[in-house]
């Protein structure tokens, strides 16, 4: 294994020394995009789904069946002589140092012209640094730490909205509700978040916006997700008497809190959750009627089909390969490959600068995506400025999109129903 790798690398070194090396033709028959994903380790299950989604996108770009999506069904990239896209995957193991090595391997050994990935914000941080150093475009479809686009990187582009955007959506939702209903009133906000990157990011963004938008912070709770009881936390929240709770939790802790709220009679107008534990299939299955009325933000919903009919079709194709419905992560990664393909095609070459210029000029209307976004267009930091989340509410045992109002399938029930005794 090691020997083979070493000899392969030595061969590359030798070629480079001899001045040969693989030369790039004007219209390469194949365009290599490197994808860094957590294929082993704790997030391996998600990594496998993301890989399936990305591969599906590449296959559709290379294929000839057309969908209302950019670059799909044109038998490769037309402006590059119908060159086909080839995805090469490398494993981040979910670790920053491995992600860095994986990115380096994709660029130097696989000669990837662009990189995509890497799901976890920490691995995206290091992999994108490598791309920056080599001057290779890096497209991040799925990491939500706000800081990633605040680093002043030249080659980094992010299609997904970040934690800050998702938190903002809650407050936009309040504002929109107020416009519809004069008696709508929210003042005190309690923020509850697990103390990992996910919960901290969400809570920090929410806290900043609470102050900015003139609300009152009732309390902020940080807790370790692997806890077996939340007695103290529930009492703290109860004592703080908030109007709404904004929460970022995984499944086991979300269930603990929900049971605690009910038992201790924590009566709030709404619980607004940051997906994760609150959108896991187990959540409604376990809580039944107690889950009714819970709001949660989502990045994606299969209900968006009324905006783009490709949603159920891609979902179907994805199910055939993955055995699972298309979810928000997979949909974002699927779109990521299309965005890259679109930019490379418009660039008409795989020269880094041309691709970067093309990425900067990206402007894909929202209705040509699988996402609820307004558009895909990058601002100066490389962040997609057209990204929005959606807000769903559990109604009749199902997640129903209630905001933004133009993609909503049901009106929001406000305040959420009281706990059933």
């Amino acid at each position: 294994m090691l020997a083979r790798r070493l000899s392969a690398s030595l061969a590359v070194v030798a070629l480079a020394v001899l001045g040969g090396g693989p030369t790039r033709a004007a219209a390469p028959p194949e365009i290599v995009i490197g994808s860094v994903l957590p294929l082993t380790g704790g997030s391996a299950q998600t990594g496998a789904l993301l890989r399936t989604a990305q591969q599906l996108a590449a296959d559709l770009v290379n294929g000839h069946v057309s969908y209302p999506l950019p670059m799909v069904g044109k038998s490769g990239l037309p402006h590059l002589g119908h060159a086909r896209i080839r995805l090469v995957f490398a494993d981040s193991q979910g670790k920053p140092d491995q992600a860095r090595a994986a990115a380096e391997q994709l660029i130097t050994q696989e000669h990837a012209v662009a990189l995509i990935g890497t799901y976890a914000s920490s691995t995206t941080a290091t992999a994108s640094q490598v791309a920056e150093r080599y001057g290779v475009p890096f497209l991040n479809p799925d990491s939500s730490a706000p800081g990633l686009t605040a680093r002043g990187l030249k080659w980094f582009f992010r299609t997904t909205p970040h934690d800050g955007t998702f938190a903002e959506n809650f407050f936009q939702f309040f504002a929109d509700m107020k416009k519809k209903n004069k008696s709508f009133a929210v003042k005190r906000v309690a923020i509850v978040g697990e103390d990992g990157l996910f919960g901290t990011g969400a809570s920090d963004a929410e806290e900043a916006l609470v102050k900015k938008n003139g609300y009152e912070l009732a309390t902020r709770i940080a807790y370790t997700a692997t806890t077996s009881e939340v007695n103290a936390e529930i009492q703290k929240i109860k004592t703080a008497a908030p109007d709404v709770i904004m929460q970022a939790s995984y499944v086991p802790d979300a269930l603990l809190y929900m049971r605690g709220y009910k038992q201790q009679g924590v009566d709030v107008k709404a619980i607004l959750a940051q997906d994760a534990g609150f959108i896991d299939p187990t959540f409604i299955k376990t809580l039944g009627a107690d889950a009714e009325g819970i709001f949660t933000r989502e990045v994606f919903s299969l209900e968006i089909k009324h905006r783009n009919q490709a949603v159920p079709l891609i979902d179907q194709l994805f199910r055939e390969r993955a055995g699972k419905p298309l979810d928000g992560n997979s949909a974002r990664d699927f779109m990521g490959v299309l965005v890259l393909a679109d930019a490379i095609d418009r660039a008409g070459s795989t020269k880094p600068d041309a691709m970067r210029k093309a990425l900067q000029a990206t402007n894909i209307p929202g209705k040509l995506t699988l996402m609820p976004w307004n558009r895909i267009h990058f601002d100066a930091t490389g962040q997609n400025d057209g990204g929005v989340g959606i807000i769903e509410q559990v109604q009749d045992g199902k997640y129903q999109t209630v905001w933004p109002f133009d993609v909503a399938v049901r009106p929001a029930i406000w305040p959420m129903p009281a706990w059933k005794r």
Binding site: L2, L6, L10, T46, S122, D195
Partner: protein, 323 residues
């Protein structure tokens, strides 16, 4: 005690080969592999001091590694030289080691092992809730270049640094094996009651071993942070990193000089092979393989690969001597 000469020759050969790679090779991937191997070997040896030579299994070794990594990030983000992180991180690591070890190192092994889990959990919570330590977000180190900044565009200097650290750690271990400290630790492991009855102060000697162990891990942490330029709790202080370190130490052979280096090679090859063959299946086969290996070694070859080889050599020598 056997002579140190073959070990010194082997170490010299490794250093020479490493230097050749550092200056001769340009391939980033190969150099990355060499750097990673050396870093893991250092971490494994650090673990080996307390868990192998002293016989107290540490499940929280990542926190010492984290001390160095965080010291590095703090120095750089506060405008100090990252070189200061080496003594700084080492001091904090040694202090943590004393805090964990003082109550527990005079007692049966599991008191210590549980304490390492507990202290590691405390440190993790502390880091994740301290704004000055970057909370869960960690730190991204600003890009710089040169020996003063301890950051380089090329990988060669990193390999040289890792090689130097590896050489120091191996030399220290060669010295340990021949020192009074090493002798006492061996005596304590061989016959605890007898050693204690002749007045060997268990706590004192094990604390020395543990503190040095922590210092070595912290130095590796500084190097890691300066190399990866990004640190956060899951990649430096979390239980998963401690598991990796223990795995490296166990596989090669606890209480042996070359065990950790062997373990590092096995671990890196294994991780790449697992990723290649099984990655993307979305299953936890990597854990299955690591777990099975630890179980098999514990049940059949508790002294690991190197311990088994050393045994075999001794037996052959014994046989030829008898003949």
């Amino acid at each position: 005690m056997s002579t140190a000469r073959p070990h010194l020759i082997a170490l010299g050969a490794i250093v020479a080969a490493g230097l050749l790679a550092a200056f001769g090779l340009r391939d980033a991937v190969v150099l990355d592999l060499v750097f990673t191997l050396l870093l893991y070997a250092v971490l494994g040896q650090s673990w080996n001091w307390i868990s192998g030579y002293a016989g107290n299994i540490s499940f929280g070794h990542a926190i010492f590694f984290g001390c160095g990594a965080y010291a590095s990030a703090l120095c750089v983000t506060h405008g100090l030289s990252p070189w200061l992180a080496i003594p700084g991180g080492a001091l904090v690591a040694a202090a943590l080691a004393l805090l964990t070890g003082f109550p527990t190192l005079g007692l049966r092994g599991h008191y210590f092992s549980i304490a390492t889990i507990a202290v590691a959990a405390l440190v993790e919570v502390f880091v994740r809730t301290s704004p000055s330590l970057g909370k869960a977000n960690g730190f991204e180190l600003p890009i710089a270049s040169g020996w003063a900044a301890l950051q380089f565009q090329q990988k060669g200097p990193y390999v040289v640094l890792a090689l130097a650290l590896f050489a120091i750690v191996q030399l220290a271990t060669i010295v340990l094996e021949r020192s009074r400290l090493g002798f006492y630790l061996r005596a304590l492991r061989a016959n605890h009651a007898a050693a204690a009855s002749v007045g060997i102060d268990e706590r004192r000697f094990k604390l020395i071993a543990f503190a040095w162990s922590a210092v070595m891990a912290a130095a590796a942490g500084v190097l890691y942070a300066q190399y990866t330029l990004f640190i956060d709790p899951p990649s430096t202080i979390a239980l998963g990193i401690s598991i990796d370190i223990a795995l490296i130490g166990v596989v090669g052979g606890i209480g042996t000089l070359w065990g950790p280096a062997t373990g590092a090679v096995v671990y890196v090859v294994l991780a790449k092979a697992v990723a290649l063959r099984l990655g993307g299946a979305g299953k936890g086969y990597d854990l299955v393989i690591y777990g099975a290996i630890i179980c098999l070694i514990a049940a059949l070859r508790p002294y690991g690969i190197v311990g088994t080889i050393v045994d075999a050599i001794r037996r052959r020598r014994g046989a030829s001597a008898a003949a």
